[in-house]
Amino acid sequence: MPEKLYIDALREGLREEMLRDENVFIIGEDVGLYGGAFGVTKGLFQEFGEDRVKDTPISEAAIAGAAVGAALCGMRPVAEIMFFDFFTIAMDQLVNQGAKNRYMFGGKAKVPMVIRGPMGCGTGAAAQHSQSFPAVFAHFPGLKVVMPSTPYDVKGLIKASIRDDNPVVFAEHKLLYRVKGEVPEEEYIVPLGKADIKRKGKDITIVAGSIMVIRALEAAKQLEQEGIDVEVVDPRTLKPLDMGTIVDSVKKTGRVIIVEDDPMSFGWGAEVAAGIASSSAFDYLDAPIKRLAGLDIPIPYNPNLEKHAVPQVEDIVKAIKDILE
Protein backbone atom coordinates (compact mmCIF):
# COMPACT_ATOMS: atom_id res chain seq x y z
CA MET A 1 0.00 0.00 0.00
CA PRO A 2 1.37 3.46 -0.81
CA GLU A 3 2.33 5.72 2.08
CA LYS A 4 0.84 9.18 2.15
CA LEU A 5 0.89 12.25 4.33
CA TYR A 6 -2.18 12.88 6.45
CA ILE A 7 -2.71 16.22 4.72
CA ASP A 8 -2.59 14.61 1.27
CA ALA A 9 -4.96 11.83 2.28
CA LEU A 10 -7.39 14.40 3.63
CA ARG A 11 -7.23 16.37 0.39
CA GLU A 12 -7.79 13.19 -1.63
CA GLY A 13 -10.90 12.46 0.38
CA LEU A 14 -12.23 15.96 -0.24
CA ARG A 15 -11.43 15.74 -3.93
CA GLU A 16 -13.05 12.36 -4.43
CA GLU A 17 -16.25 13.55 -2.79
CA MET A 18 -16.27 16.71 -4.90
CA LEU A 19 -15.90 14.58 -8.02
CA ARG A 20 -18.63 12.19 -6.87
CA ASP A 21 -21.21 14.80 -5.85
CA GLU A 22 -21.44 18.24 -7.38
CA ASN A 23 -23.27 19.54 -4.31
CA VAL A 24 -20.09 19.23 -2.29
CA PHE A 25 -18.21 22.51 -2.08
CA ILE A 26 -15.51 24.08 0.08
CA ILE A 27 -15.91 27.42 1.79
CA GLY A 28 -13.47 29.25 4.06
CA GLU A 29 -10.69 31.78 4.44
CA ASP A 30 -7.76 31.55 2.03
CA VAL A 31 -8.89 28.11 0.82
CA GLY A 32 -8.69 29.14 -2.87
CA LEU A 33 -5.52 30.23 -4.63
CA TYR A 34 -3.60 30.09 -1.36
CA GLY A 35 -4.72 26.50 -0.74
CA GLY A 36 -5.62 26.99 2.92
CA ALA A 37 -3.39 28.21 5.71
CA PHE A 38 -1.96 24.69 6.14
CA GLY A 39 -2.30 23.67 2.49
CA VAL A 40 -5.19 21.22 2.90
CA THR A 41 -7.09 22.52 -0.14
CA LYS A 42 -4.05 23.10 -2.35
CA GLY A 43 -4.85 22.58 -6.02
CA LEU A 44 -8.61 22.15 -5.55
CA PHE A 45 -9.29 25.76 -6.57
CA GLN A 46 -7.43 25.17 -9.83
CA GLU A 47 -9.34 21.94 -10.45
CA PHE A 48 -12.85 22.89 -9.37
CA GLY A 49 -12.94 26.68 -9.79
CA GLU A 50 -13.82 29.48 -7.45
CA ASP A 51 -17.48 28.59 -7.08
CA ARG A 52 -16.72 25.24 -5.50
CA VAL A 53 -13.64 26.34 -3.59
CA LYS A 54 -14.85 29.56 -2.17
CA ASP A 55 -12.68 32.17 -0.47
CA THR A 56 -14.60 34.26 2.02
CA PRO A 57 -13.97 37.45 3.92
CA ILE A 58 -12.70 36.93 7.47
CA SER A 59 -16.13 36.12 8.87
CA GLU A 60 -16.33 32.80 10.70
CA ALA A 61 -19.93 33.30 11.80
CA ALA A 62 -20.96 33.83 8.20
CA ILE A 63 -18.92 30.86 7.00
CA ALA A 64 -20.59 28.53 9.48
CA GLY A 65 -24.03 30.03 9.01
CA ALA A 66 -23.78 29.99 5.23
CA ALA A 67 -22.80 26.34 5.43
CA VAL A 68 -25.87 25.65 7.58
CA GLY A 69 -28.16 27.52 5.19
CA ALA A 70 -26.73 25.93 2.07
CA ALA A 71 -26.96 22.50 3.69
CA LEU A 72 -30.61 23.09 4.60
CA CYS A 73 -31.17 23.72 0.90
CA GLY A 74 -29.54 20.57 -0.40
CA MET A 75 -25.87 21.45 -0.75
CA ARG A 76 -23.09 19.60 1.08
CA PRO A 77 -20.70 22.28 2.26
CA VAL A 78 -17.31 21.60 3.79
CA ALA A 79 -16.41 24.72 5.75
CA GLU A 80 -12.79 25.28 6.75
CA ILE A 81 -12.08 27.23 9.92
CA MET A 82 -8.44 28.26 9.73
CA PHE A 83 -7.60 27.40 13.33
CA PHE A 84 -9.79 25.37 15.67
CA ASP A 85 -9.71 28.26 18.18
CA PHE A 86 -11.82 30.32 15.76
CA PHE A 87 -14.68 27.81 15.99
CA THR A 88 -15.83 29.92 18.91
CA ILE A 89 -16.76 32.71 16.49
CA ALA A 90 -18.73 30.23 14.38
CA MET A 91 -20.31 28.74 17.48
CA ASP A 92 -23.79 30.24 17.46
CA GLN A 93 -24.47 29.29 13.86
CA LEU A 94 -23.17 25.82 14.50
CA VAL A 95 -24.67 24.94 17.86
CA ASN A 96 -27.80 27.06 18.08
CA GLN A 97 -28.70 26.73 14.44
CA GLY A 98 -27.12 23.83 12.57
CA ALA A 99 -27.15 21.38 15.46
CA LYS A 100 -30.74 22.09 16.44
CA ASN A 101 -32.48 22.70 13.14
CA ARG A 102 -33.54 19.16 12.47
CA TYR A 103 -35.07 18.39 15.86
CA MET A 104 -36.55 21.88 16.31
CA PHE A 105 -38.22 21.63 12.94
CA GLY A 106 -39.86 18.36 13.87
CA GLY A 107 -37.37 16.16 12.04
CA LYS A 108 -38.22 17.69 8.69
CA ALA A 109 -34.92 19.41 7.97
CA LYS A 110 -31.44 18.06 7.49
CA VAL A 111 -28.12 19.84 7.68
CA PRO A 112 -25.50 17.76 5.84
CA MET A 113 -22.37 19.80 6.41
CA VAL A 114 -18.81 19.38 7.64
CA ILE A 115 -16.91 22.05 9.48
CA ARG A 116 -13.23 21.26 9.85
CA GLY A 117 -10.01 22.79 11.08
CA PRO A 118 -6.65 22.25 12.78
CA MET A 119 -6.38 22.15 16.55
CA GLY A 120 -3.58 21.57 18.99
CA CYS A 121 -0.31 22.97 20.22
CA GLY A 122 3.30 22.27 19.44
CA THR A 123 4.05 25.04 16.98
CA GLY A 124 4.57 28.02 19.27
CA ALA A 125 1.40 29.71 18.09
CA ALA A 126 0.32 30.49 21.67
CA ALA A 127 -3.03 30.67 23.41
CA GLN A 128 -5.35 31.72 20.61
CA HIS A 129 -4.03 29.37 17.90
CA SER A 130 -3.34 26.17 19.85
CA GLN A 131 -6.27 24.90 21.81
CA SER A 132 -7.85 21.49 21.34
CA PHE A 133 -11.49 21.39 22.35
CA PRO A 134 -13.41 18.90 20.18
CA ALA A 135 -15.16 17.59 23.28
CA VAL A 136 -17.03 20.88 23.64
CA PHE A 137 -18.96 20.07 20.49
CA ALA A 138 -19.78 16.56 21.65
CA HIS A 139 -21.88 18.25 24.32
CA PHE A 140 -24.35 19.56 21.77
CA PRO A 141 -27.11 17.20 20.67
CA GLY A 142 -27.31 17.19 16.89
CA LEU A 143 -23.59 17.45 16.18
CA LYS A 144 -21.21 14.64 15.36
CA VAL A 145 -17.55 14.97 16.27
CA VAL A 146 -14.68 13.28 14.46
CA MET A 147 -10.94 13.41 15.20
CA PRO A 148 -8.89 11.16 12.93
CA SER A 149 -5.35 10.22 13.89
CA THR A 150 -3.94 8.56 10.75
CA PRO A 151 -3.82 9.22 7.01
CA TYR A 152 -6.01 6.14 6.46
CA ASP A 153 -8.61 7.31 8.93
CA VAL A 154 -8.66 10.94 7.85
CA LYS A 155 -9.46 10.04 4.28
CA GLY A 156 -12.10 7.48 5.13
CA LEU A 157 -13.67 9.65 7.79
CA ILE A 158 -13.83 12.87 5.75
CA LYS A 159 -15.71 10.92 3.09
CA ALA A 160 -18.11 9.46 5.64
CA SER A 161 -18.57 12.89 7.21
CA ILE A 162 -19.41 14.53 3.90
CA ARG A 163 -21.94 11.79 3.14
CA ASP A 164 -23.50 12.01 6.59
CA ASP A 165 -26.78 13.92 6.73
CA ASN A 166 -25.85 15.77 9.94
CA PRO A 167 -23.49 18.58 10.85
CA VAL A 168 -20.07 17.07 11.58
CA VAL A 169 -17.25 18.82 13.43
CA PHE A 170 -14.01 17.45 12.01
CA ALA A 171 -10.98 18.11 14.21
CA GLU A 172 -7.50 17.71 12.74
CA HIS A 173 -4.41 18.11 14.91
CA LYS A 174 -1.97 20.35 13.10
CA LEU A 175 1.01 18.16 14.02
CA LEU A 176 -0.68 15.25 12.23
CA TYR A 177 -0.63 16.89 8.80
CA ARG A 178 2.96 15.75 8.24
CA VAL A 179 2.47 12.22 9.59
CA LYS A 180 2.76 9.43 7.01
CA GLY A 181 0.78 6.24 6.81
CA GLU A 182 -0.65 3.64 4.46
CA VAL A 183 -3.59 4.67 2.29
CA PRO A 184 -5.09 2.17 -0.17
CA GLU A 185 -5.51 3.08 -3.83
CA GLU A 186 -9.07 1.78 -3.97
CA GLU A 187 -11.99 3.67 -2.56
CA TYR A 188 -13.01 3.08 1.05
CA ILE A 189 -15.02 4.69 3.81
CA VAL A 190 -14.41 4.68 7.54
CA PRO A 191 -17.82 4.75 9.21
CA LEU A 192 -18.54 7.27 11.96
CA GLY A 193 -18.92 5.77 15.41
CA LYS A 194 -16.45 2.90 15.07
CA ALA A 195 -13.34 2.79 17.24
CA ASP A 196 -10.17 1.19 15.97
CA ILE A 197 -7.61 -0.91 17.80
CA LYS A 198 -4.38 0.66 16.67
CA ARG A 199 -2.23 -1.89 18.50
CA LYS A 200 -3.10 -5.14 20.17
CA GLY A 201 -1.81 -5.87 23.67
CA LYS A 202 -2.78 -7.65 26.87
CA ASP A 203 -1.38 -5.71 29.86
CA ILE A 204 -3.09 -2.33 29.66
CA THR A 205 -5.40 -0.36 27.37
CA ILE A 206 -4.60 3.16 26.28
CA VAL A 207 -7.62 5.02 24.97
CA ALA A 208 -6.16 7.90 22.96
CA GLY A 209 -7.46 10.22 20.28
CA SER A 210 -5.96 12.37 17.54
CA ILE A 211 -2.26 13.26 18.09
CA MET A 212 -2.25 11.23 21.31
CA VAL A 213 -2.64 8.04 19.28
CA ILE A 214 0.78 8.71 17.76
CA ARG A 215 2.26 9.35 21.20
CA ALA A 216 0.52 6.32 22.69
CA LEU A 217 1.94 4.06 19.97
CA GLU A 218 5.41 5.45 20.58
CA ALA A 219 5.01 4.87 24.32
CA ALA A 220 3.81 1.33 23.62
CA LYS A 221 6.92 0.68 21.56
CA GLN A 222 9.18 1.85 24.38
CA LEU A 223 7.27 -0.18 26.97
CA GLU A 224 7.55 -3.29 24.83
CA GLN A 225 11.31 -3.23 25.51
CA GLU A 226 10.46 -3.66 29.16
CA GLY A 227 8.05 -6.47 28.52
CA ILE A 228 4.88 -4.43 28.88
CA ASP A 229 2.29 -5.23 26.25
CA VAL A 230 0.06 -2.25 25.53
CA GLU A 231 -3.20 -2.10 23.60
CA VAL A 232 -4.07 1.23 21.96
CA VAL A 233 -7.71 2.01 21.20
CA ASP A 234 -8.57 5.06 19.11
CA PRO A 235 -12.26 6.06 19.34
CA ARG A 236 -11.83 8.05 16.09
CA THR A 237 -15.18 9.70 16.57
CA LEU A 238 -16.16 11.25 19.89
CA LYS A 239 -19.76 11.33 18.85
CA PRO A 240 -21.06 8.79 18.24
CA LEU A 241 -18.68 7.15 20.73
CA ASP A 242 -17.97 3.45 20.34
CA MET A 243 -17.93 2.37 23.99
CA GLY A 244 -18.29 -1.27 23.01
CA THR A 245 -14.78 -1.58 21.59
CA ILE A 246 -13.32 0.25 24.58
CA VAL A 247 -15.16 -1.90 27.10
CA ASP A 248 -14.08 -5.12 25.38
CA SER A 249 -10.48 -3.99 25.43
CA VAL A 250 -10.56 -3.10 29.13
CA LYS A 251 -12.15 -6.46 29.94
CA LYS A 252 -9.21 -8.11 28.24
CA THR A 253 -6.41 -6.03 29.82
CA GLY A 254 -7.93 -5.10 33.19
CA ARG A 255 -6.23 -1.71 33.19
CA VAL A 256 -6.90 1.51 31.33
CA ILE A 257 -5.41 4.93 30.83
CA ILE A 258 -7.14 7.61 28.79
CA VAL A 259 -4.91 10.13 27.03
CA GLU A 260 -6.30 13.40 25.69
CA ASP A 261 -4.91 16.54 24.11
CA ASP A 262 -7.70 18.74 25.51
CA PRO A 263 -7.57 20.32 28.96
CA MET A 264 -8.39 17.81 31.71
CA SER A 265 -11.48 19.38 33.23
CA PHE A 266 -14.72 18.05 31.77
CA GLY A 267 -12.81 16.45 28.90
CA TRP A 268 -13.98 13.50 26.81
CA GLY A 269 -11.78 11.24 28.91
CA ALA A 270 -14.18 11.77 31.79
CA GLU A 271 -16.99 10.53 29.59
CA VAL A 272 -15.00 7.46 28.61
CA ALA A 273 -14.00 6.82 32.24
CA ALA A 274 -17.61 7.03 33.35
CA GLY A 275 -18.60 4.73 30.51
CA ILE A 276 -16.05 2.12 31.61
CA ALA A 277 -16.91 2.44 35.31
CA SER A 278 -20.57 1.90 34.64
CA SER A 279 -20.07 -0.98 32.21
CA SER A 280 -19.48 -4.70 32.50
CA ALA A 281 -15.75 -3.89 32.40
CA PHE A 282 -15.91 -2.56 35.96
CA ASP A 283 -15.49 -6.01 37.51
CA TYR A 284 -12.43 -6.66 35.39
CA LEU A 285 -10.50 -3.58 36.53
CA ASP A 286 -7.28 -4.39 38.40
CA ALA A 287 -6.38 -0.71 38.89
CA PRO A 288 -8.21 2.59 39.08
CA ILE A 289 -9.00 4.22 35.73
CA LYS A 290 -6.27 6.75 34.97
CA ARG A 291 -6.52 9.92 32.90
CA LEU A 292 -3.76 11.98 31.31
CA ALA A 293 -4.78 15.23 29.64
CA GLY A 294 -3.72 18.78 29.00
CA LEU A 295 -3.24 21.10 31.94
CA ASP A 296 -6.12 23.44 32.70
CA ILE A 297 -4.29 26.45 31.26
CA PRO A 298 -4.31 28.44 28.03
CA ILE A 299 -1.42 27.15 25.89
CA PRO A 300 1.76 29.10 26.73
CA TYR A 301 4.13 30.44 24.07
CA ASN A 302 7.48 29.43 25.53
CA PRO A 303 8.39 26.11 23.89
CA ASN A 304 9.30 24.34 27.11
CA LEU A 305 6.13 25.44 28.88
CA GLU A 306 4.14 24.54 25.79
CA LYS A 307 5.56 21.03 25.82
CA HIS A 308 4.55 20.61 29.44
CA ALA A 309 0.99 21.79 28.77
CA VAL A 310 -0.09 18.50 27.14
CA PRO A 311 0.93 14.85 27.60
CA GLN A 312 4.12 13.74 25.87
CA VAL A 313 5.41 10.22 25.17
CA GLU A 314 7.47 10.16 28.36
CA ASP A 315 4.44 11.14 30.44
CA ILE A 316 2.49 8.21 29.03
CA VAL A 317 5.35 5.79 29.65
CA LYS A 318 5.74 6.96 33.23
CA ALA A 319 2.02 6.84 33.97
CA ILE A 320 1.76 3.27 32.68
CA LYS A 321 4.73 2.12 34.74
CA ASP A 322 3.14 3.71 37.81
CA ILE A 323 -0.10 1.84 37.18
CA LEU A 324 1.66 -1.49 36.68
CA GLU A 325 3.90 -1.17 39.73
Binding site: D30, Y34, I58, S59, Y301, N304, L305
Partner: protein
Protein backbone atom coordinates in the same frame (compact mmCIF):
# COMPACT_ATOMS: atom_id res chain seq x y z
CA UNK B 1 -0.77 72.34 12.42
CA UNK B 2 0.63 72.27 15.91
CA UNK B 3 3.32 69.65 15.37
CA UNK B 4 6.39 70.68 17.31
CA UNK B 5 9.87 69.86 16.11
CA UNK B 6 10.25 67.49 19.06
CA UNK B 7 7.14 65.62 18.07
CA UNK B 8 8.27 65.39 14.48
CA UNK B 9 11.59 63.94 15.52
CA UNK B 10 9.82 61.59 17.91
CA UNK B 11 7.71 60.32 15.03
CA UNK B 12 10.78 59.79 12.88
CA UNK B 13 12.57 57.97 15.69
CA UNK B 14 9.59 55.74 16.44
CA UNK B 15 9.13 54.73 12.82
CA UNK B 16 12.81 53.83 12.63
CA UNK B 17 12.59 51.94 15.89
CA UNK B 18 9.71 49.86 14.57
CA UNK B 19 11.43 49.22 11.25
CA UNK B 20 14.70 48.14 12.82
CA UNK B 21 12.96 46.13 15.51
CA UNK B 22 11.01 44.15 12.97
CA UNK B 23 13.89 43.57 10.58
CA UNK B 24 15.82 42.28 13.56
CA UNK B 25 12.90 40.02 14.51
CA UNK B 26 12.90 38.69 10.96
CA UNK B 27 16.60 37.88 11.29
CA UNK B 28 16.15 36.21 14.67
CA UNK B 29 13.39 34.10 13.18
CA UNK B 30 15.55 32.97 10.33
CA UNK B 31 18.27 32.13 12.86
CA UNK B 32 15.73 29.96 14.75
CA UNK B 33 16.00 32.11 17.83
CA UNK B 34 12.31 33.00 17.75
CA UNK B 35 9.71 30.32 17.77
CA UNK B 36 6.13 30.16 16.49
CA UNK B 37 4.99 32.77 14.04
CA UNK B 38 4.80 36.52 13.81
CA UNK B 39 3.42 39.22 11.59
CA UNK B 40 5.61 42.14 10.60
CA UNK B 41 4.37 45.62 9.75
CA UNK B 42 7.36 46.74 7.70
CA UNK B 43 6.07 49.48 5.38
CA UNK B 44 3.13 50.38 7.65
CA UNK B 45 5.01 52.26 10.37
CA UNK B 46 3.43 55.67 9.68
CA UNK B 47 0.00 54.36 10.54
CA UNK B 48 0.94 53.22 14.04
CA UNK B 49 3.14 56.21 14.79
CA UNK B 50 1.02 58.99 13.30
CA UNK B 51 -2.09 57.66 15.04
CA UNK B 52 -0.56 57.21 18.45
CA UNK B 53 1.18 60.58 18.21
CA UNK B 54 -2.30 62.07 18.49
CA UNK B 55 -2.89 60.53 21.94
CA UNK B 56 -2.12 61.77 25.44
CA UNK B 57 -0.09 59.55 27.73
CA UNK B 58 -3.01 58.10 29.69
CA UNK B 59 -5.01 57.19 26.61
CA UNK B 60 -5.46 53.59 25.53
CA UNK B 61 -5.10 51.43 22.46
CA UNK B 62 -6.00 47.95 21.36
CA UNK B 63 -3.72 46.33 18.83
CA UNK B 64 -3.69 43.42 16.41
CA UNK B 65 -1.67 40.36 15.39
CA UNK B 66 0.50 42.85 13.49
CA UNK B 67 1.09 44.84 16.62
CA UNK B 68 4.79 45.47 17.29
CA UNK B 69 4.51 48.98 15.88
CA UNK B 70 1.50 49.90 17.99
CA UNK B 71 3.25 48.68 21.12
CA UNK B 72 6.48 50.56 20.46
CA UNK B 73 4.68 53.76 19.49
CA UNK B 74 2.66 53.58 22.71
CA UNK B 75 5.88 53.60 24.69
CA UNK B 76 6.63 49.88 24.69
CA UNK B 77 10.12 48.94 25.82
CA UNK B 78 12.45 47.19 23.39
CA UNK B 79 14.04 44.85 25.96
CA UNK B 80 10.69 43.52 27.22
CA UNK B 81 9.49 43.06 23.66
CA UNK B 82 12.51 41.11 22.51
CA UNK B 83 12.42 39.11 25.72
CA UNK B 84 8.80 38.17 25.03
CA UNK B 85 9.58 37.08 21.49
CA UNK B 86 12.39 34.93 22.85
CA UNK B 87 9.91 33.44 25.32
CA UNK B 88 11.75 34.74 28.38
CA UNK B 89 10.48 35.35 31.90
CA UNK B 90 11.42 39.05 31.59
CA UNK B 91 9.18 39.53 28.55
CA UNK B 92 5.97 41.54 28.56
CA UNK B 93 3.90 38.39 29.08
CA UNK B 94 6.58 36.43 30.98
CA UNK B 95 7.11 34.36 27.86
CA UNK B 96 3.53 33.08 27.96
CA UNK B 97 2.14 35.19 25.13
CA UNK B 98 4.65 35.75 22.35
CA UNK B 99 4.35 38.18 19.47
CA UNK B 100 0.58 37.98 19.06
CA UNK B 101 -0.26 38.72 22.68
CA UNK B 102 2.02 41.50 23.82
CA UNK B 103 0.19 43.85 26.16
CA UNK B 104 1.62 46.81 28.06
CA UNK B 105 -1.17 47.73 30.42
CA UNK B 106 0.81 50.39 32.26
CA UNK B 107 1.26 52.30 29.04
CA UNK B 108 -2.37 51.86 28.01
CA UNK B 109 -1.78 49.09 25.47
CA UNK B 110 -4.60 46.63 26.11
CA UNK B 111 -2.97 44.01 23.97
CA UNK B 112 -2.22 42.63 20.57
CA UNK B 113 -4.64 39.94 19.48
CA UNK B 114 -4.52 36.57 17.79
CA UNK B 115 -8.18 36.74 16.89
CA UNK B 116 -8.80 38.93 13.86
CA UNK B 117 -11.26 41.59 15.03
CA UNK B 118 -10.96 40.42 18.63
CA UNK B 119 -9.77 43.78 19.90
CA UNK B 120 -12.59 45.83 18.43
CA UNK B 121 -15.24 45.15 21.09
CA UNK B 122 -12.57 45.33 23.80
CA UNK B 123 -11.54 48.82 22.74
CA UNK B 124 -15.20 49.74 22.77
CA UNK B 125 -15.46 48.50 26.33
CA UNK B 126 -12.42 50.54 27.32
CA UNK B 127 -14.12 53.62 25.91
CA UNK B 128 -17.31 52.70 27.74
CA UNK B 129 -15.34 52.56 31.00
CA UNK B 130 -13.85 55.98 30.29
CA UNK B 131 -17.27 57.42 29.70
CA UNK B 132 -18.64 55.87 32.89
CA UNK B 133 -15.65 56.97 34.96
CA UNK B 134 -15.53 60.36 33.22
CA UNK B 135 -11.74 60.04 33.12
CA UNK B 136 -11.38 62.01 29.90
CA UNK B 137 -9.42 59.25 28.17
CA UNK B 138 -9.72 58.27 24.54
CA UNK B 139 -9.15 54.80 23.09
CA UNK B 140 -7.66 54.08 19.68
CA UNK B 141 -8.74 50.79 18.21
CA UNK B 142 -6.43 49.36 15.54
CA UNK B 143 -7.63 46.66 13.15
CA UNK B 144 -7.00 45.50 9.60
CA UNK B 145 -9.12 45.70 6.47
CA UNK B 146 -9.83 41.99 6.91
CA UNK B 147 -11.02 42.45 10.47
CA UNK B 148 -13.62 44.94 9.30
CA UNK B 149 -15.56 42.00 7.87
CA UNK B 150 -16.04 40.34 11.24
CA UNK B 151 -19.48 40.69 12.75
CA UNK B 152 -17.95 42.07 15.92
CA UNK B 153 -16.70 45.12 14.02
CA UNK B 154 -20.23 46.14 13.10
CA UNK B 155 -21.63 45.30 16.52
CA UNK B 156 -18.98 47.24 18.40
CA UNK B 157 -18.94 50.29 16.14
CA UNK B 158 -22.70 50.58 16.38
CA UNK B 159 -22.55 50.23 20.15
CA UNK B 160 -20.00 53.04 20.33
CA UNK B 161 -21.99 55.24 17.99
CA UNK B 162 -25.28 54.99 19.88
CA UNK B 163 -23.48 55.66 23.15
CA UNK B 164 -21.19 58.40 21.78
CA UNK B 165 -18.17 56.65 23.23
CA UNK B 166 -14.73 58.31 23.26
CA UNK B 167 -13.05 56.04 20.72
CA UNK B 168 -11.41 56.27 17.32
CA UNK B 169 -11.45 53.20 15.09
CA UNK B 170 -8.33 52.98 12.96
CA UNK B 171 -8.51 50.62 10.03
CA UNK B 172 -5.05 49.84 8.68
CA UNK B 173 -5.94 48.88 5.15
CA UNK B 174 -2.91 47.16 3.64
CA UNK B 175 -5.00 45.85 0.74
CA UNK B 176 -4.92 42.19 1.81
CA UNK B 177 -6.30 39.99 4.53
CA UNK B 178 -3.77 37.22 4.30
CA UNK B 179 -4.05 36.16 0.62
CA UNK B 180 -7.44 37.69 -0.09
CA UNK B 181 -7.38 41.08 -1.80
CA UNK B 182 -9.45 43.75 -0.12
CA UNK B 183 -11.58 44.32 -3.22
CA UNK B 184 -12.66 40.66 -3.13
CA UNK B 185 -13.61 40.84 0.51
CA UNK B 186 -15.43 44.16 0.66
CA UNK B 187 -18.26 45.47 -1.48
CA UNK B 188 -17.36 49.07 -0.71
CA UNK B 189 -14.21 50.76 -1.91
CA UNK B 190 -13.24 52.11 1.47
CA UNK B 191 -13.81 50.76 4.95
CA UNK B 192 -14.30 54.39 5.94
CA UNK B 193 -17.46 54.42 3.79
CA UNK B 194 -19.02 52.11 6.35
CA UNK B 195 -18.95 54.91 8.92
CA UNK B 196 -22.02 56.36 7.23
CA UNK B 197 -24.01 53.30 8.30
CA UNK B 198 -23.40 54.29 11.93
CA UNK B 199 -23.69 58.06 11.37
CA UNK B 200 -20.19 58.83 12.39
CA UNK B 201 -17.36 60.55 10.53
CA UNK B 202 -15.31 58.35 8.24
CA UNK B 203 -12.11 59.44 6.59
CA UNK B 204 -9.59 57.90 4.19
CA UNK B 205 -5.98 58.87 4.78
CA UNK B 206 -2.69 58.24 3.00
CA UNK B 207 -1.40 55.82 5.59
CA UNK B 208 2.21 56.20 4.50
CA UNK B 209 2.22 59.93 5.28
CA UNK B 210 2.84 60.13 9.00
CA UNK B 211 1.77 63.77 9.36
CA UNK B 212 -1.43 63.23 7.39
CA UNK B 213 -2.27 60.32 9.67
CA UNK B 214 -1.50 62.42 12.72
CA UNK B 215 -3.74 65.26 11.61
CA UNK B 216 -6.71 63.07 10.79
CA UNK B 217 -6.46 61.08 14.00
CA UNK B 218 -5.88 64.18 16.11
CA UNK B 219 -9.09 65.71 14.86
CA UNK B 220 -11.01 62.52 15.65
CA UNK B 221 -9.38 62.17 19.06
CA UNK B 222 -10.26 65.77 19.94
CA UNK B 223 -13.82 65.15 18.88
CA UNK B 224 -14.01 61.99 20.96
CA UNK B 225 -12.55 63.79 23.98
CA UNK B 226 -15.19 66.49 23.66
CA UNK B 227 -17.83 63.80 24.05
CA UNK B 228 -19.01 63.94 20.45
CA UNK B 229 -18.55 60.24 19.82
CA UNK B 230 -16.55 57.85 17.69
CA UNK B 231 -14.93 58.22 14.27
CA UNK B 232 -13.55 55.78 11.74
CA UNK B 233 -10.25 56.48 10.03
CA UNK B 234 -8.79 54.33 7.31
CA UNK B 235 -5.06 54.45 6.75
CA UNK B 236 -4.31 53.10 3.29
CA UNK B 237 -0.98 51.35 3.42
CA UNK B 238 0.86 48.17 2.42
CA UNK B 239 2.85 45.43 4.07
CA UNK B 240 6.14 44.79 2.35
CA UNK B 241 6.76 41.32 3.73
CA UNK B 242 4.68 38.17 3.71
CA UNK B 243 1.57 37.89 5.85
CA UNK B 244 3.47 35.81 8.38
CA UNK B 245 6.53 33.64 8.51
CA UNK B 246 5.18 31.04 6.11
CA UNK B 247 3.87 33.18 3.25
CA UNK B 248 5.22 32.70 -0.28
CA UNK B 249 3.33 35.76 -1.56
CA UNK B 250 1.65 33.87 -4.43
CA UNK B 251 -1.30 36.24 -4.48
CA UNK B 252 0.51 39.47 -5.38
CA UNK B 253 3.09 40.54 -7.90
CA UNK B 254 6.69 41.59 -7.35
CA UNK B 255 5.90 44.79 -9.25
CA UNK B 256 3.14 45.71 -6.84
CA UNK B 257 5.40 45.15 -3.86
CA UNK B 258 8.19 47.16 -5.47
CA UNK B 259 5.85 50.00 -6.28
CA UNK B 260 4.80 50.27 -2.65
CA UNK B 261 8.39 50.11 -1.46
CA UNK B 262 8.92 53.30 -3.41
CA UNK B 263 6.41 54.90 -1.06
CA UNK B 264 8.40 54.07 2.06
CA UNK B 265 6.93 56.13 4.90
CA UNK B 266 10.28 56.55 6.61
CA UNK B 267 12.33 57.63 3.61
CA UNK B 268 9.55 59.96 2.67
CA UNK B 269 9.43 61.58 6.09
CA UNK B 270 13.18 61.88 6.26
CA UNK B 271 13.14 63.79 2.99
CA UNK B 272 10.35 66.02 4.23
CA UNK B 273 12.10 66.84 7.50
CA UNK B 274 15.23 67.79 5.62
CA UNK B 275 13.37 69.77 2.94
CA UNK B 276 11.37 71.66 5.58
CA UNK B 277 14.55 72.43 7.47
CA UNK B 278 13.17 70.68 10.54
CA UNK B 279 16.28 68.53 10.89
CA UNK B 280 19.67 68.01 9.32
CA UNK B 281 20.91 64.81 7.70
CA UNK B 282 23.44 64.40 10.50
CA UNK B 283 20.79 64.76 13.15
CA UNK B 284 18.62 62.11 11.51
CA UNK B 285 21.60 59.80 11.05
CA UNK B 286 22.39 60.17 14.71
CA UNK B 287 18.83 59.17 15.63
CA UNK B 288 19.18 56.08 13.48
CA UNK B 289 22.44 55.13 15.20
CA UNK B 290 20.85 55.54 18.62
CA UNK B 291 17.93 53.39 17.60
CA UNK B 292 20.22 50.67 16.27
CA UNK B 293 22.25 50.67 19.43
CA UNK B 294 19.19 50.48 21.68
CA UNK B 295 17.98 47.51 19.67
CA UNK B 296 21.25 45.62 19.98
CA UNK B 297 21.27 46.25 23.73
CA UNK B 298 17.69 45.04 23.99
CA UNK B 299 18.52 41.83 22.14
CA UNK B 300 21.44 41.19 24.50
CA UNK B 301 19.14 41.74 27.46
CA UNK B 302 16.63 39.29 26.03
CA UNK B 303 19.24 36.65 25.25
CA UNK B 304 20.64 36.86 28.78
CA UNK B 305 17.24 36.71 30.45
CA UNK B 306 16.02 33.56 32.24
CA UNK B 307 13.51 31.11 30.82
CA UNK B 308 10.18 30.74 32.66
CA UNK B 309 10.21 27.93 35.23
CA UNK B 310 8.08 24.89 34.55
CA UNK B 311 7.04 24.88 38.23
CA UNK B 312 5.21 28.15 37.55
CA UNK B 313 3.23 26.83 34.62
CA UNK B 314 -0.13 26.88 36.45
CA UNK B 315 0.28 30.45 37.73
CA UNK B 316 -1.98 33.21 36.56
CA UNK B 317 -4.99 31.46 35.08
CA UNK B 318 -7.22 33.02 37.72
CA UNK B 319 -6.87 36.25 39.68
Amino acid sequence: MSLTRDKKLWMYRKMLEIRHFELEVDRLFKANMIWGTCHLSVGEEASAVGSIAALEDGDMITSTHRGHGHCLAKGGELPEMFAELLGKETGYCRGRGGSMHIADLEKGNLGANGIVGGGIPIATGAALASKMKKDGKVTLCFFGDGAANQGCFHEAVNLAAVNKLPIVYICENNLYGMSVPFRKASSVENIADRAAAYSMPGRVVDGNDVEAVYEAVKEAVDRARRGEGPSLIENKTYRWLGHSKSDANVYRTKEEIEEWKQRCPIKRYRQKLINDGAASEQELDRIEKEVEQAIQEAIEYAKNSPEPRVEDIMDGVYA
